[in-house]
Each structure stands twice: as C-alpha cells, then as structure tokens.
C-alpha cells in the first residue's frame, strides 16, 4: 500500500517557515480503485467516518457508501452493484427469515448495541422482555399497563429486511412476532426514519441502534439493564449484534484495505467507540 521507501533519499533543501502550528495525519499511498458499499443504515455513520479517514491515507480510492436496509447489503453484492454489503447479521449463514448468501464472505466490523426507544413524553424507563413482547405484538396497547400514564402506545417498527429488526426480534423479543397492522402501528424504512418517528410521535415506542439515540428520545433499560457497553460486556444487556461487511469471496485490493482499516486497533478503539459502537475485540 505504501509507496516504495528509500531511506537514503533524504535530501535537505533550504527552508524558510513562519510561526504557528498545525498537523495532519496521513500516509501516502498508491492504492487506487473504487469501493461501492450499500446496506445497513445502522452501519452507515460508521462507514462514512471510516471513509473520511481512509481517504486521507489513500486519496486515490473513491468510496461510495449508501444505505437502505441490511438485507439490501448482500443483495447488492449478489447483484454486482456493490463491492461491500453492510449487514447487521452474518449473511453467509441462515438466520431466521433470511437464507444465507452463497459465495459471500462475512467480514466482521463492529459490535452494534440495539435499544428500545420511546418518545420523551413516555414516563416508562424500563421494560421486561415479556412487556416488550406484549407491546410489539399488540397485546398491550396502553402505557398504563406497563407502569406509564394512560395513553395509547404507538408502535413503530422497521420494515422487513432491516438488520435492526432482525436483531431486536431475536434478542429483545426472544423470537416473538411483531404486530403488522393497526391504527397505532407504523413502519419506517431506515434508522434515520425511525429516529424521526420516535422524536416526533408522542407515546411512540420503537427500537434503534445506540448511535442514533438523541436527546429527543429515551433509551429504555431492558430487564433492568441499560443499553451500555459496560452492560453488554458484563452480560446483563443482551440486545446486541455484530455488523458485517459482506464481500463476494475474500476481499482484495482497495476493498480489502478498507475493511482492514475498519478492523484496525486505531479505528476500533478510536472513531468506532466515539460513535458508540463496541470494538470487535471486546466481545471475543
């Protein structure tokens, strides 16, 4: 990746500089190419942060990153319109609701924490697994039945194909089905849409990955455990999953270098944690 290094070639010339301080972090690289990434909206902020840093090291690598849903990630790779499919589960094996994508390699990139979220007007701060199952199946429809005020619950779900939905159903609802229709039921197409829906809909409950949580919503504890890295690592908070970059076969060239950058200690312990993901090494 680095250009050829010739230590003997240090040549000093005249210098005349001015006062002040600045710095830049980079590494000259001759790596070239274009990487197209599509898939999970939960992973998009992470992908774009990594893109920004990686391109300073590799200016001639163009990275085009978009998101719609997790399932679209490996689909994009299979269709040949993306080099990397970002997905919130290992799409190289069967998971409930989704068959594996043959010939694709799952490259782990981050641990994502998912959390139940409510509009700020909701007084509830903790729900049990059973209460979540009852709410998201439509069995419980009023907040007063789970310790809140007398108000109808608005359930906001992600559309089928969402990796956040897959993880939340598997781990928060322990496999129980979602309701699919009703006056107080709506579906959103992305994490960003979910964020907006929860922020702007009184009495709403939904779920989202931790980086999307804002001060205009509340993240709920589940079974008494708050959605924090500490609680993931001590085993009390179960609703988390590993995000993957799916590739057609083993990654090569610029794609391989980009995945390696995201997996590097610098990124995992720096920007990745800053964005409230958990490093892969923490859950090994």
């Amino acid at each position: 990746m680095k250009k050829w290094f010739k230590p003997a070639a240090l040549i000093a010339l005249a210098v005349s500089l001015t006062a002040g301080g600045a710095s830049a972090a980079s590494a000259a690289s001759s790596l070239k190419g274009k990487i197209v990434i599509n898939g999970s909206s939960a992973l998009l902020p992470l992908t774009l942060q990594a893109k920004s840093e990686f391109q300073k090291l590799n200016p001639k690598v163009k990275i085009s990153a978009s998101a719609v849903s997790s399932i679209a990630g490996p689909q994009s790779v299979r269709k040949g319109i993306a080099d990397i499919g970002a997905v919130d589960w290992d799409a190289s094996v069967d998971v409930p609701g989704f068959k594996k994508f043959d010939g694709q390699v799952a490259n782990p990139v981050a641990v994502t924490v998912f959390t139940a979220v409510v509009n700020k007007n909701v007084g509830v701060t903790n729900l049990t697994t059973k209460q979540l199952q009852d709410i998201f199946s439509g069995k419980v429809t009023n907040w007063k039945d789970v310790g809140g005020s007398d108000a109808n619950i608005v359930v906001v779900n992600r559309k089928f194909g969402s990796g956040t939905r897959v993880n939340f159903q598997m781990k928060a609802l322990e496999g129980k089905d979602f309701m699919t229709k009703g006056d107080n039921y709506k579906e959103t197409g992305s994490s960003g849409d979910m964020k907006t829906a929860i922020e702007t809909t009184p009495n709403a409950i939904g779920y989202i990955d931790l980086p999307y949580v804002t001060d205009k919503m509340k993240a709920l504890s589940i079974n008494g455990a708050a959605p924090t890295e500490k609680n993931v690592l001590n085993g009390t908070y179960k609703v988390w999953g590993i995000g993957y970059f799916m590739t057609k076969g083993k990654p090569t060239g610029a794609t391989k270098a980009f995945i390696e950058y995201i997996q590097s200690a610098k990124f995992q312990n720096g920007s990745l944690k800053k964005l409230k993901f958990i490093p892969l090494s923490a859950v090994k």
């Binding site: 680095k2 250009k3 050829w4 290094f5 010739k6 230590p7 070639a9 240090l10 040549i11 000093a12 010339l13 005249a14 210098v15 005349s16 500089l17 001015t18 002040g20 301080g21 600045a22 710095s23 830049a24 972090a25 980079s26 590494a27 000259a28 197209v36 599509n38 902020p45 774009l48 942060q49 920004s52 391109q55 300073k56 200016p59 001639k60 163009k62 085009s64 990153a65 978009s66 719609v68 849903s69 399932i71 679209a72 689909q75 994009s76 319109i81 989704f98 068959k99 194909g161 804002t214 001060d215 890295e229 200690a265 610098k266 312990n269 720096g270 944690k273 800053k274 964005l275 409230k276």
Partner: protein
Amino acid sequence: MVMKKAFAATILAAALGTAAAGTAGAAQAGAAVVKPTVKPAAAKAEALQVKQSVFVVNYAEAPVRTVLSNGETLVSVRDLSAALGAKLSVLNGYTTVTLDAHSFAFKAGAKQVSVDGTVASLNQAVKSINGTAYVAVKPLVQALGGTMALKDGKLAVNTIKLLSGAAYARFANAGQAVVSVESDVKRTDYLVDVATGRSLELLASEGSSDLIVAPGGAKAAYTDADGAVYVIDLASRQTKQVSADTTIKTELVWSADGSAIYFLQGDKGSVIAKLDIAAGTISKIAEDKVDYKSALSVSPDGKKFTYLVTTPPKATADSADLDKDTVDIDASGEQVQVNLYDASAEKPAAVALTSAKDDKLFVVSPDGGTVYYVSVADENASAAVVSVDKDKKTATLFAEGDVEELVLSGGKLYVLTAVNDDASAIYEVDPATASKKLLYTVPASASGLAVNGSQIVIALEDGLYVNASGAWKPVTR
C-alpha cells in the same frame, strides 16, 4: 559493560551538588562517590594530544574534545556532558555526572569509579589535561545508560530511548509535539521534545478521541468513549473534565482564544455546537437537519463555520421478494461539498460554496472566508490544492505533482506532494499570492506532515522525523 567490578570499596552516601564542572556544588541527595582506598596511580609522563572531534550526540552533531591514550579514546567529560544535557557536580575532589537515573562519579588520576553507586574499575585512570577531565568514552556512555555506534565516520552516542510505534505528530508549543501510540486495547499519548526525542506520557486511554491541541499549544482536548469532554494541561499533565454531556461528538475544534470548543454533534455530525469551557454549557450554533457534516473549521471570531457535507447515493430496495434483488443505487446525486455557515448573518443559513463532484480532503480555512482543500477528481488524475471563497469562486492554487496532504500553519499552507515513485516534496505556499517554495524532497513514503514555525515533522516507515540542521533527525522510531 567493559568495566569490571573491582575490589570492595566503601561507598559514601555523599550529598553532591549541581554546580558546573570544576566548581563546588550545593548538596544533592542520592548520589554516591567512592572513598579512595588506594592511592591514585602515578601519572605517567606521556604526550597526550587533545583533538577536537565531532560526535553525533542524540542525533545532533556536537564538538567534543578527545585524546587517544593506550589505544582508548578518552573524552572530555565536560564536553560530552554538555552535549548530553547531563549534570556535573563536584565535591571533595570527586566529580559526579548525573543523567536521568544514572550517575558516574570519578576522581582525576584514579581508575576506580562509581556507577550508579557501585564501584567499578576503568582500564586506565582518569586523565586531567589543562584542568579538564578525560574519561574513556565507552564506559562513561554505558554508565549513563547510552549506546555507541559509528555512523558516517562519526561516533554516535545515544542516551535517549526514542519512543516506538508513534504514527503521527501534531505540534504543541516550543518544539513539543503530541504523538500517539496505538495498541490492541488502548492508546497512549506522549509529549515529545522534537529536538531530543525525549518523551513524557500524557494520557493512556481506551476509546478516547485524538488529542486536539489548542492554539498556543498549552492544552489539548479530547472526548472519552461516552462523549464527555476533557482538557489536559500539557505542562502539568493534569486532566479536567469540562463537560459531562455524552452526546456523540465527531470532531472537536478549539476557538482561537481557547475559551471554547466547537464540535459536530450526533452520529451523523448534523449539529454544529459550542462548549463554553468555563461555564461547561453547550449551545447549538446550527441545527439545519443536514447530515454528514465533517472537516469543521471555525473563523477566529467564531462567526463563520466551514465544513464538508456528504450526500450519499440514494439506495432503494423492495424487500417483498428477496430473491429478485430489486435493490438499486442511484449515485447521480452523490457529492461532497464545502459549505459555509455565517452565524453573524441576519438569517444564518448554510451555503454550498462548491458544486464539483471531486473528493475534497484536508480541508482548512484560516479565516472562514476562503477554504483550501485537496481536490481528487478521480483515481487517475493528479490531486491539486484548490481554493474556494465566500463568493463560490474556485481556483487551483497548487498543482505540482500529485498532492497528498495539506496543512495550515501560521497563515501559510504546507503541501506534501508526490513527485515520482521514489520521492515526494514539501512546499510552502502563500495563499495570498499563490507563490510556492520547495522546502524539502523526501522519500515517497513520507506522510503525516506537521508544521510549526520552522519545524516540520514527517512520518517515514521507521518513525517520525524532524528537520534539523539540513537533515532529518528521528523523533521516534
């Protein structure tokens, strides 16, 4: 060590002073000298010729007087101590050289010496010539924890253990730089004297952001993994939390006077916010629901904000029939543009200054009025430094070679650009006149350009280097 342990001798726990060589010093605890138990060897009449030599001491050339005696090179203790920055003290005829945790005590005419309080014996007695003490160089250097090597015909003496594994530097003050060493689980930040390579640990952390050095270089800011903001005093190395707010802060930018920290807030960097350090309060500057802001710059008056906005491609998918792969990506609207937000305007609103679909890297703006960046049109085109002003007028400012990095320092731009497969060059560019001056030609692997006044640090494959006396001297390895 070439010195061998000699006979038993009584060690005096003497208190030695810190005065210069040849002068009596004030008391200093912790050093030790050897009580003479044998008479110094009688001075043998020999014609010793003092030679003015040049050593490379801790990577810098230094004049050192030497004599050759019995096949050994003896060195002026005063000269070598001065070059090493070692302290000399004299008490009761004994001179002690102290460097870091090491001491070397001797008496003119004697073979016995004390190394870190333990008696040892030299091959030949310490010589005194015209009032200057000469000691065999090798045991002296080794006693002080140093190493010796022959480099380009000169004796290279190193007593500083250079930091290893540092990736890049950002200058602090007075020739000091903050460097970071990453491990699998944590990052350790050090303050390094770029002239000597001496380093002090500043901060060991897990999940903290990079240290962002304030203007003036006296302090630096960072966020922990939760998003709380801390400021570290680089002189005292004391850290203070200045905000417990745990929202995601993707970038920190100091105000010109060091009283505030601006930052991009949220996982998508949607909000421009300001943290007043003294009050600990956070206020929102711009919340326009435009996602994926990055590369924030703030004008010295805190009124103008320039930044990049990334618009991702639009992806669509119909998840009704998964086997049909109805997913599609429309990249026609994908772009990265420079935006300006003038908070002093009557109705502040972000304005896109650029419209070209090139990649824009290393964005800097000295005044909020003009923005400079490295423009990469495509993988086969040479990258160039482009400017855009508040009236959206763009111009190519620098197009020598294939630009790799751009930094702003003291109102000047510094450009690292690839010249060919073997070499890159560092230029200084005056943004006002577009005049450029070639400063250095460096290996093609050079990266991590950092500039502060006349000092430039670059990263090569085996460490960080600083320009010094017309050459590049290692700062880390």
